[in-house]
Structures are given as structure tokens and as C-alpha cells.
Amino acid sequence: MKRSFTHFILRCLLAALPVAGLILAYVVADPFRVIWPADDAIAQWGDSLQVNINQGHVSAMNFMRYNGERHYDSFIMGSSMSQNYKASDWAAHLPAGASIYHFDAWRETLQGISDKLDFLEKQGTTVNNVLIVIEEEMLHRDADVSDFRFMGSPITSPDVGTLDFHWRFFKNCLSMDVIRFFLDPQGHASQAVSQGIVTRDVPSRIPELNESYYAQFDSLIAVSPDAFFTPERLAQREIRAVPTVDGPQMHGPREQQARHLAEQLHRLGAHYIILVPPRYGRPTLCAYDRVVLAEIFGRDHVFDFSDHPTMSTDPRCFYDRDAHLISRCCKQLLDSCYSTSISLHSR
């Protein structure tokens, strides 16, 4: 029996070779940057092309990697729209010695922010200051489980299993579109960009802050705005003179999530601000949601810029079509928040 059993196991291992080889190749290559530290090899194809990373997972991995030496106590949270609020700009308003970390995730949800705060609490991290960027769209967004690029990280989301998370990335890596691109990146770049596998807007990164920023765009905008805001670029944007107002969203599960989030922030003793940024020509926060947010988080903590008179109507305030505010404007909004009387926590 023993001999035949061993023989059988060997045959099974032999049969599993091609699959095992594929998995090994995937682990070594880590094309979506979810296994090995992302910042070590994030710009695989130079400055012009970068794989669309799962920012939530990269945030969690970088936190685990650098928190030991940097002891973060201040966090910028939110979706990709929180990306351009620079740590250096926020630091000017925080007590000296505050250690800032961008704990963001693309298409972040209120639940995702709450999960991250739970994670920080479990890690025993002191949370002194939190900047939460809640764009209007986040108030009617649930966790996106259908798209692997936006699913929660198993490190911070209790509902996402580690194996399941990595299996999804592995499975998505086996799609013909992805394989074609990885075999010949330049040859299939356009197709891969349109499918969202990679992006041409490659930001610079500061791994220890987990900060992405468009250094090349910012310098171009500063020196010669017209060189960045070309007629072609501006023509892509929908021009709506008056932004519309969306219906109330702060009820049901989202309201519960927001209340839970406020409880967490109070429990942690954190000083926080909720910043609602403008979007170009897009719905602004409706009055009902503004009132509910103020009631939940406190009137002094909520700053609604969604109907900002100039930014929401000026396409030159955005890097792209309508969503991502340029860092100069982000700084302006931050300064506006802190020009009011907020008493900051002092360590």
C-alpha cells in the first residue's frame, strides 16, 4: 500500500505541475503588486505605464512595513480623491512631530474607512488626527466586490479572506487581455489602458507616506498652465454651468456606517475633519445630507466644499475630467478648513 500510495502522490504532483508552475510564475512576477512591497517595483514599464494597483491593499501593506519606524498618528483617508491632499500641506496645520500617513483606497467606502480605523485600533496605533475626504459619490457607494482592483484588503477588511483576495488577482491575471499585455506591454498598451489594467497617468510616490502625487503635472500647471490644460484636454470635460444637486443619500446603511465611524473617532479621541470636495459639473451634497453629516460628526468638523463657487465650475481645478482636484486646490481647501477655529489635538 505504501509504495502505491507514494506512487499516486508523485503522479498527482506531476499532474499538478503546469498549474503549480503558473502559480509560481504569478507569485514571482506579482503583476498586480499585491504580494511583494508595491513601491519596490511599481513602475515596471518606466514612467509612462503603470499597472492599476489596488491602492487599499498597497496602503495596508505599506502601513505594516513602515509603521514600526515612523509611528504614524495622523491619517488621510478617503478614495482616490483624497490622494492629492499632501501630507506636507496638512502637516502645516498639525502639531509639530505629527506623523502622517495616507491610508486611502480607490473607490473607498464609509465601511472601508471604518474598517481601517478598527484595524488601527487593533494594532494599538494612536490616532490623533484624521482627515477624511468624503466625496458626494461615496455617500451612495457600497463596497465594490465585483472588481478585484477595488476590493478591500484582507489586512484591513474583516470580510475579505486572504486566500480569496489573492485568488481573485491570480484568476484575473489569467485573462487573455492581461496575459497579452504582460507578454508585450508596449504592443498592447492602448488596449490595456482602455481596459483599466494599466494607466498612463503615473504618479510619483513617497512609500513611507504612501503618498502619490503628480509632480510632472503640478510643475507644468505652475509654470505654464496652458501647456497642461490644452484645448483637447478641456474639450473632454462636460461643461455644466450650474452643478446639479443629488437626492438625499444619508439614510439606511450609509447613515449607520457614518454613525459608527463617528463613534470610532470619538472613542479613539481623534481630532478629525470631514472634507467634502467639489467635483466639476457634478452633483453637490444635498442639504439633507449636509445636515445629517453635521449632526453625526459635529457641525465644527464637517466642511462641505461640494458647491464651491469657483472650483466646481472651473475645469482647470482638476487633473482629469471631473473628479481629482489638483493639489494646489486641495491645499486651499485644507487651509480654508483650518482657518476656522479648530482646536487640534496636541500630543
Binding site: M1, S4, F5, H7, F8, R11, C12, L14, A15, A16, L17, P18, V19, L22, S146, F148, L163, W167, R168, K171, N172, L174
Partner: protein, 466 residues
């Protein structure tokens, strides 16, 4: 836990290794098998384990007095109690809302207003399968066909044995219990056959059934917007899908059991190569049809009380079989129409003379397939309205346009050819008369094709809902 997930691909090897490591201690081996089965089942929802325990313990303890009592009335009483409890659980979880709604509609039609709550409960996976397995044990003990076991552990494993727990094959105690109560020896040939059968089952599920499912989701989403040929093609595709899906599941179940040294009964024998509807039902979902034959059809008199009584018995069996599949009018209609289609065979003599269809039988096989495909279209309908829309398109739709989804034939054609060539074996991969290197290329090719074709969001096996 589904068979076509990476979790099962990790679960099965771990179970396999520990199971054979415990081979010298039968009790430990069975205890481990039971624990593994409960983990497998609890993966869906651990609360459902309570129902399995109720079914298992009720059946075990009611069978003891049946086997040990000479008074027929007492024995019948315990059988009745067991059947009532088991069917009661099944009825509550599967049929309560169906009958409550039907009664309310009926009273409404009579002008009486009835308003009672329906239960907002999940249908426990596999409840129809293990309930039938439990009932068959009780009745077999009553009939003296099998002895009431006093060993609780093997009996619990008999009810919960994970490869066949959620979608069969529905086992009988006289087949599975002796295997669970005697020491198992690892058999190299049996294990290799098991692996090949798992591979073939996965290929059927992932490459054929799931692909057909994707086509059908589009083709049958709004039948009124389709042309008539699309509905015809949808019937063909669904017939292939449900066969590949369910027989694929059965192959994985039987193959997994073989890895553990246990033989399960066959559930499919190339039903679409049948030469009559009677033969079709002897080759399709064999374990369920034999259950109905043994515990419903024969007790009703079978074919011993004249042809008209035989027809009535057939209709009863098929109506019940339809109802077993689901608490929906479409399933009852499907069962009833299948019964009607079988009635002519009562008045005709059997024509099949050989075990397997030959080339000359192909026209008859095609006829059987066409009838089965029409029947399965009823089965596939989401509800009576959906069925009505399909019929409307077939009657009034456009017959001049080409059907949507013709490219699905690229998958079906090689599958049918392989099945035809392998029809004399239990499954086509069992013995490939090819050089070793070619066989290995086929195994590797299939493994990679399955891996590449399986999406993250796996499509549930169709029969899990029953």
C-alpha cells in the same frame, strides 16, 4: 463549499492525506470523515448543520425500534414518525411558501381573502438529497433489506458523507454503510480513476456548463426580444448545460469518494444517447429515479396491476419528481409532461437490444434529445410568465433570422464527440487508448483550460438549489 472552487482544491488533498494516515484506526478515520463532511457543509452556513443533525439522530433512533421489534404496527408507527419528521423539515424549508401562496391564490380566486405570513428562510443546500437518503434507510430497515445499525458514527457519516451530501448520488444504506463499517485499503487504480473522473467532471462543469450558462443568461433574459431560432438553440444549450453541470457534479462526487476508497452509485450513463424516453430515464439521475421506483412506484403497484394503473403510477412518480426538484409550478409541469411522454412506452414493447447506442441508433437518439430539450426548457423557465414568453416567441416569433449564440456550438461539438466515443465506458477519460505522453498532454491541457476558464464568481451547480 463548491467542488469547482480553489477552497475545495485545497480541502480535498488535506482530507485525503489525513484520511489515509488514519487508515489503521477505522473509528478515527470515520470520525475524521464526519468532521470533514461537517466542515464541507458548514462552509455554506454552519446553522444548516443543525438540520442534518436532527435528520440524522431522528432517523438513527427511530430505526432502532423498527429493526428490533416484531410487532408490525409498532414498526409502521416508527416509520411513519420518521417520514413525517423528515418530510416535515423538507416541507417547511422547501415547500411551505409554495403551498401557502398556492392556497392563498386559490382562496382569492374563490373570492375569499386570506392573508398569512410566508417564511423568510433560506433553502438549506442539499436538503432534498440527504432527506431522501435518510428516508430510504428507515424504509429499508422496515422492509428488512438492511439491518438497523447500532453504530452512530458510521451512520452519521452515511448521511453526511461530503462528496455526495449536497447533490447526490442518493445512496442506499445497503451499498454505502458496509463500506463505512469495514476497513478501507488504498487502491492505486481506484484512486487514479477517481482523479480522472474529477478532472472530467470539472471539465464538464467549467468548460461546458458554465459557458452554456453565460450564453443562456443573455438568450433567455428577455425571450420576447429574441427570434424563434434563438429559443430553439437555447433549449439545446440548456439541455447540454444541465447535463454537463449535474453529471459533472456527480463525476466529481464519485471521483472524490474513490480517492477515499469508497464507491458511490452511478448517477448518469450518457442519457442523451438513449433510444427511447424510457431508456433516457434509466440513464438520467439514476439514483433519484431508482429511489422513486423503489419507494413510490413499486409500492403503488408498479406495472403489476394493468397498463392503466401503470400509467397512473408513472404520472404520480413524475409529478412527485417534478415537485422534488423545486417548489414551483414549472417543475410540476415539467414532471407531469415527462410522465405523459413516458406513457406510450407502457403500451409498446422494448426495442433496445444492446447496452450502448450504435451509429444506426443516432436518429432515435436525436429524437430523444429533442424531446428532452423541450422538457428542459420548461425546467429552465424562471416562472410561468417566463415560460409563456418563450412559447410566445416560438409561436409568433421570427423564424427567418439566425439564432443568437451560434458560437456555442464550437464548445458543444467536441464535447458531444468525446462523449460519443467514450460512451462504452463509465466516463470518457477512464481508459484512453492513447500513448502515455498524449494522455498526459490531455490531462495537463484540460487542467489548464479549467483554470483559465473558471471565473472568480463561480456559477453554482444547478442541482444545489434542490
Amino acid at each position: 463549499m463548491q467542488f469547482d472552487t480553489y477552497i475545495y482544491a485545497l480541502f480535498l488533498p488535506v482530507v485525503f492525506l489525513i484520511y489515509w494516515w488514519l487508515r489503521k484506526r477505522l473509528t478515527w478515520q470515520n470520525a475524521f470523515l464526519l468532521a470533514a463532511s461537517y466542515v464541507f457543509y458548514g462552509w455554506w452556513d454552519w446553522r444548516f448543520l443543525g438540520l442534518i443533525l436532527i435528520t440524522t439522530l431522528t432517523t438513527f433512533f427511530t430505526a432502532l425500534p423498527i429493526g428490533g421489534n416484531s410487532r408490525r404496527a409498532v414498526r409502521r408507527g416508527f416509520v411513519a414518525a420518521n417520514v413525517v419528521v423528515n418530510l416535515g423539515i423538507l416541507a417547511t424549508f422547501k415547500y411551505f411558501n409554495f403551498f401557502a401562496d398556492a392556497l392563498r391564490d386559490l382562496l382569492g380566486a374563490l373570492g375569499l381573502h386570506a392573508d398569512w405570513p410566508t417564511l423568510n428562510i433560506l433553502l438549506p443546500v442539499g436538503i432534498s438529497f440527504y432527506t431522501f437518503q435518510a428516508i430510504s434507510y428507515t424504509i429499508d430497515v422496515y422492509r428488512g433489506k438492511t439491518k438497523a445499525t447500532r453504530q452512530l458514527l458510521p451512520f452519521m457519516t452515511y448521511i453526511a458523507f461530503f462528496p455526495q451530501l449536497v447533490a447526490g448520488p442518493i445512496e442506499r444504506a445497503d451499498h454505502l454503510m458496509p463500506q463505512l463499517t469495514s476497513p478501507r485499503r488504498f487502491d492505486y487504480g481506484q484512486a487514479v480513476t477517481g482523479m480522472r473522473q474529477i478532472l472530467w467532471g470539472l471539465a464538464k462543469k467549467v468548460l461546458i456548463a458554465n459557458t452554456m450558462g453565460n450564453y443562456l443568461d443573455t438568450m433567455l433574459y428577455n425571450p420576447l426580444a429574441m427570434n424563434a431560432w434563438t429559443i430553439v438553440l437555447a433549449a439545446i444549450l440548456f439541455a447540454i448545460q444541465i447535463y454537463a453541470d449535474f453529471s459533472g457534479y456527480s463525476d466529481i462526487a464519485i471521483g472524490s469518494a474513490r480517492l477515499l476508497g469508497i464507491e458511490l452509485v452511478a448517477n448518469f450513463r450518457y442519457p442523451y444517447f438513449s433510444r427511447s424516453m424510457r431508456e433516457f430515464w434509466q440513464r438520467w439521475h439514476i439514483s433519484l429515479m431508482s429511489w422513486f421506483r423503489e419507494y413510490v412506484y413499486i409500492p403503488l403497484g408498479g406495472s403489476r396491476r394493468g397498463k392503466w394503473r401503470t400509467c397512473l403510477n408513472i404520472m404520480v412518480v413524475f409529478a412527485l419528481s417534478g415537485l422534488w426538484h423545486g417548489a414551483d409550478a414549472t417543475f410540476v409541469i415539467w414532471g407531469t409532461v415527462n410522465g405523459l411522454m413516458l406513457l406510450p412506452s407502457v403500451f409498446m414493447s422494448r426495442r433496445e437490444t444492446t447496452a450502448h447506442a450504435s451509429w444506426r441508433d443516432l436518429p432515435r437518439c436525436l429524437g430523444v434529445f429533442a424531446l428532452a430539450a423541450i422538457m428542459f426548457l420548461i425546467f429552465r423557465a424562471n416562472n410561468l410568465d417566463h415560460l409563456g414568453q418563450m412559447c410566445h416567441t416560438l409561436v409568433y416569433g421570427n423564424w427567418a433570422a439566425l439564432p443568437m449564440g451560434l458560437s456555442a456550438m464550437l464548445y458543444i461539438a467536441p464535447f458531444v464527440v468525446v462523449e460519443w466515443l467514450g460512451r462504452k465506458q463509465e466516463f470518457p477519460l477512464k481508459h484512453l487508448p492513447l500513448p502515455t505522453a498524449v494522455r498526459w498532454l490531455i490531462y495537463w491541457g484540460l487542467s489548464l483550460a479549467i483554470l483559465f476558464s473558471s471565473t472568480h464568481d463561480t456559477q453554482q451547480f444547478i442541482y444545489f438549489q434542490f
